[in-house]
């Protein structure tokens, strides 16, 4: 790292920019979400009955949690492509654990998964920072490793199934009406919101905005990024608990979730490359994506054309967001596709 930083960017206070960015880049997603929710109401008048709506939130919960985790990584200027593999691995490992220890308490298994997610995130973070491997490659490699290792270990498919106790978090309800998954989603969302308002959040955004400036200002950028990866890993493990609980053992529980999570975050106006966007908007992006899936399903779009419609809407939504606020982003220098160094 050499020091050719220009003085102008170093002088700008980070919080200012953060607020401007949050307002500027987040707005379109709320519009999109409102439009989709209205469309859902028109398509299906019963959609807003409390239990139906709660069921929708419950279904969206894993993606929202993944998006929150992914946001932390993306806003710090990195990628996490391993989250889908963590979800698959989490579900399979849980089933395998129950195969060996059928009496295990759900809390123990859940905590073991969260710990496992944290470890994977830690490894991702260490390799991406200390070894300077671009996170796109680190997490792509991690995805291959996790998928391979977990099925190598289990000989192709898990040996046990998930008992009701473990599945309650993803499937059951508190007080007979409030799905636990909704509570988990609220808790994770609240935590992410609080985190982003804390000092850590500011340093995270500063790191993503300009690593060099942040480092000069005394931020320990490596540590900040490693923490972001760890949190993303934990979020993915929590999503695994919810997905496994919602739908049971599956050898492909997390397939494609990494792309869905990144799409959700970008829909929320968060800029790939780091430094811009709010976590609430990212989670709104996840809700929008889930609303879109539900709408396509209810509309009865020909099953085969669903992905085409989805592709168009995602491009259009992101394009719209970019077009409206392109002026605000002039200062951005980093390249569109990659991670800065």
């Amino acid at each position: 790292m050499t020091t050719t930083a220009d003085a102008t960017t170093a002088n700008q206070p980070a919080p200012h920019r953060r607020i401007a960015a949050a307002l500027g880049t987040g707005a379109p997603v709320y519009g999109l979400l409102v439009v989709l929710l209205l469309a859902l109401a028109l398509t299906d008048p019963g959609f807003y009955e409390p239990d139906r709506f709660l069921a929708f939130v419950k279904r969206a919960a894993p993606l929202v949690i993944l998006a929150a985790g992914q946001y932390l990584v993306i806003v710090s200027g990195e990628f996490d492509l391993s989250v889908g593999a963590i979800v698959t691995a989490g579900v399979v490992v849980a089933a395998e654990l129950y195969g060996s220890f059928p009496e295990a308490a759900w809390l123990v298994v859940t905590l073991a998964l969260l710990l496992g997610g944290a470890v994977v995130g830690l490894v991702n973070g260490l390799i991406s920072t200390a070894l300077r491997v671009p996170s796109f490659i680190t997490t792509l490699g991690m995805m291959l490793i996790l998928e391979g290792a977990v099925f190598y270990w289990t000989g192709g498919s898990p040996h046990g199934s998930l008992p009701e106790g473990f599945r309650a978090l993803g499937r059951g309800t508190a007080f007979g009406w409030l799905p636990w998954a909704v509570l988990a989603c609220l808790a994770a969302g609240g935590l992410a919101f609080w985190l982003m308002r804390s000092d850590f959040g500011r340093t995270l955004i500063a790191t993503g905005d300009s690593e060099r400036t942040a480092a000069l200002a005394g931020v320990r950028v490596h540590r900040v990024r490693i923490i972001a990866f760890v949190l993303s890993g934990v979020a993915a493990a929590l999503a695994a608990v919810l997905v496994g609980g919602f739908s049971g053992v599956s050898a492909q529980a997390g397939r494609g979730l990494e792309f869905e999570a990144i799409t959700a975050v970008v829909l929320g106006g968060v800029v790939l490359g780091g430094g811009r966007g709010s976590v609430v908007a990212a989670m709104a992006g996840a809700f929008s994506l889930q609303a879109l899936f539900t709408l396509l399903n209810l509309q009865g779009v020909s099953g085969a054309l669903e992905s085409t419609v989805q592709g168009f809407i995602v491009i259009a939504a992101v394009g719209l967001g970019a077009a409206d606020f392109s002026r605000l982003r002039r200062r951005r220098h980093s390249s569109p596709g990659g991670t800065p160094s």
Binding site: D44, G46, R52, A55, R59, P62, A95, G99, T154, G155, G156, S157, P158, H159, G160, S161, R171, V243, F246, S247, G248, V249, S250, A251, Q252, A253, R255, F293, T294, N297, L298, G300, G303, A304, E306
Partner: protein, 399 residues
């Protein structure tokens, strides 16, 4: 510096030129000659429903198979035997069996491969078994087949990844070694035998007929499919559609689940609320059947008649929850047959040109015979492996 960069491609070019000058003729093993006979294959387009094949499968479902009752993997339907004296293995010494596998990308194939390996172990004359895994890549499987033909295999078993695309490679291999194709076919009849169960039309029709029988007229049917563009699955659906079109049932939705249990559960939940009720669920495969059952439970309604597959978790749910269900199977015991066929061929014994295996269905009456306790949730009951050494541990089960 720039010159050094030039070196690499330049060297490659020079090497290429050198090689070109030393042997420019097409190698004798190129398929150019073989593919002249390409017009013998029917070049069929799976896009359209084939009446003749449909009729044949329907007829086979009612045909009594030849062979031992207790060993369906050795049974055959309407066999037309072919002579294999030309492939009889000369001299003594062990047999080297080779297998080009499309991949192990789903539990069905994993159970199948375990069963095949167990079958190989049962035959002491097989001294070497080489398996190459194409990981779902057509291109790699073509190379794998080419590689195996150069390895001194006595016989080659192929489980093609895609029907049409492996035809050239299999044709090429046929000239060198006896080939046994199973599961999906290829568009050439050069293989000594093609082992497969009755087929996708019969699968789809059995499930659809069950619903036609169990669901009252005008009942609302939800059809769940894995994904479009997969020929075996398209066959299952097209046969079901024939049955539904003839009936008075109303197919309200046809949805793709991608084999994703969460997605399947969401789709069923949405369908229940959108249509008020669902009176029957048709599935083209069993991977997501339990998720569908749970969606009805979570919505607080009775589970309607539902079709699945012989996957363990579905059979368990069926028994525990007393479902009205049926499970047609694409039996995994077909993974045993190619090994048996290969040994027969190398022995010079006759085998059927197309080895049609029976395709049993799990019904209420046979549920208890197929459901084995202690097996893992993604096990397939129709593996024909319950008497094999190492069962159930090798398949992940507990005694």
């Amino acid at each position: 510096m720039n010159r050094r960069r030039l070196l690499v491609p330049a060297a490659a070019l020079c090497a290429g030129a050198l090689l070109a000058s030393c042997s420019s003729d097409a190698p004798p093993d190129s398929p150019a000659g073989a593919s002249k006979s390409a017009d013998t294959s029917d070049g069929k387009d799976s896009k359209f429903f084939e009446q003749a094949e449909y009729d044949r499968q329907m007829k086979l479902m009612d045909t009594e198979p030849e062979g031992p009752d207790a060993k369906p993997w050795e049974q055959m339907l309407e066999p037309e035997m072919t002579d294999t004296a030309e492939y009889k293995k000369k001299g003594s010494g062990g047999t080297h069996l080779c297998f080009s596998n499309a991949g192990v990308f789903n539990p069905w194939r994993q159970v199948g491969l375990k069963t095949m390996k167990a079958e190989v172990k049962q035959h002491k004359e097989i001294t070497k078994f080489t398996e190459l895994d194409a990981q779902g890549k057509d291109d790699k499987q073509i190379s794998d087949i080419q590689e195996l033909t150069g390895k001194g295999c006595d016989a080659l078993i192929v489980s093609p990844n895609t029907t049409a695309t492996l035809t050239p490679a299999v044709k090429e291999a046929c000239g060198k070694v006896p080939v046994i194709v199973f599961d999906r076919g290829v568009e050439t009849d050069c293989a000594v035998t093609f082992v497969n169960p009755i087929g996708g039309y019969a699968y789809g029709a059995v499930a659809a007929d069950f619903l036609v029988d169990k669901v009252k007229p005008k009942g609302k049917i939800l059809a769940l499919r894995i994904s479009p563009g997969v020929d075996v699955l398209e066959n299952r659906w097209s046969a079901a559609k024939v049955a539904f079109d003839k009936s008075e049932l109303d197919v309200v939705d046809v949805k793709f689940t991608d084999g994703d249990t969460s997605k399947a559960k969401s789709i069923v939940a949405d369908a229940i609320s959108r249509h008020g009720q669902i009176d029957g669920v048709w599935m083209d495969s069993g991977a997501t059947a339990v998720a569908a059952v749970e969606a009805f439970e979570d919505a607080g309604v009775d589970v309607p008649p539902i079709t699945g597959e012989d996957q363990q978790d579905f059979l368990e749910a069926w028994k525990d929850k007393k479902l009205t269900a049926i499970a047609p199977a694409y039996p995994t015991f077909q993974w045993r047959t190619p090994v048996i066929a290969a040994l027969r061929i190398l022995d010079g014994k006759q085998v059927p040109k197309e080895w049609k295996l029976p395709q049993p269905t799990v019904t209420q009456d046979t549920l208890d015979t197929y459901l084995e306790d202690g097996m893992p949730p993604l096990h397939y009951a129709m593996c024909g492996c319950d008497k094999m050494p190492g069962f159930p541990e090798a398949w992940g089960g507990k005694k």
